[in-house]
């Protein structure tokens, strides 16, 4: 699933390399709040889920691991 998340992120913002594990996407300016809106939409569509508004927080999108945890919380395995 990690690969798929990286693919989604890369399609969203092709100018960045999302495969680096040590990078915080928010702190590095790779994703801003508007990118997060698009990312939520992509994740919802790809995994047929509906991410709750209260979970739309920067820390849930700052790394691939964080996104993975969020997906797991939404029942994606």
């Amino acid at each position: 699933m990690k690969k798929q998340i990286i693919k989604i992120l890369t399609e969203l913002r092709p100018e960045f390399d999302f495969s680096q594990e040590s990078v915080d996407f928010i702190e590095e300016g790779m994703l801003d709040s508007f990118d997060m809106v698009n990312l939520v939409n992509e994740l919802d569509t790809t995994y047929c889920i509906s991410i709750d508004g209260v979970d739309i927080l920067p820390e849930n999108f700052s790394t691939v691991e964080a996104i993975l945890k969020l997906l797991e919380k939404n029942g994606v395995k």
């Binding site: 100018e15 300016g29 790779m30 801003d32 809106v37 698009n38």
Partner: protein, 210 residues
């Protein structure tokens, strides 16, 4: 009573938004409120429709543009410098005179002073007069253009283009430049395309309730 309110709201569904909105607006019938509906066009339009049904109207719409950093032909222009505290007062005056306070989210003077302290306000001086300015933010790999202005008295003197080139040069270590532009401002959109920006599927519908 404030002149207008900016409303921040996050909803988990269109139905919930409709219910909340009806209740909220019934409590503040006399207020002027501004809503920004932000997202992809296909996401925004259903929300815009709900807001319309609740008595709001679209004042303007903006589109986000992006440019991936690439080398530019940069020529140092001695008219351009970083804003001083005195310049900030003039920048503030021009913002209030030439920008729409309801739709363009004019920064407070304190915020402008912070931008200046960070060196993120560029001004262009012509014979001691502030002919134009550009305000930007850098967040690690992203360089945001916030405001770009040339005074009408100084058009056709390459004020705007030199400010923009200075901005692009300042952000040469970043990976991308982002900005929001009013869609109907075709001249601005064309200029941004000229400098390598392209439109994204990211819109901001500014809606007003009065």
């Amino acid at each position: 009573m404030p002149k207008f309110w900016n409303v921040f709201y996050c909803s988990t569904s269109i139905d919930k938004m409709n219910d909340d909105l009806t209740e909220f607006l019934s409590k503040y019938k006399d207020a002027t409120m501004l809503f920004d509906v932000v997202g992809r066009k296909e996401q925004c339009l259903p929300v815009v429709e709900i807001l319309r049904k609740n008595g709001l109207s679209v004042v303007t719409s903006l589109v986000r543009m992006v440019r991936i950093t690439e080398p530019i032909h940069y020529v140092n222009d001695i008219r351009i410098k970083k804003a001083t505290e005195t310049d900030v007062l003039e920048v503030s005056r021009l913002l209030h005179n030439f920008f729409d306070e309801q739709t363009e989210q004019i920064p407070y003077d304190e915020e402008l002073m912070d931008y200046a302290k960070q060196g993120h306000i560029l001004v262009c001086m012509e014979s001691g007069v502030l002919a134009g300015f550009l305000i930007y933010e850098i967040n690690a790999s992203t360089n945001y253009l916030r405001y770009w202005f040339t005074h009408p008295n100084f058009r056709d003197k390459k004020v705007g283009s030199h400010l923009l080139r200075e901005f692009l040069n300042e952000g040469k270590e970043t990976k991308r430049q982002l900005l929001w532009v009013i869609q109907s401002n075709e001249n601005a959109v064309v200029r941004y395309y000229h400098y390598g920006f392209s439109e994204e599927n990211m819109y901001d519908y500014v809606m007003r309730y009065t």
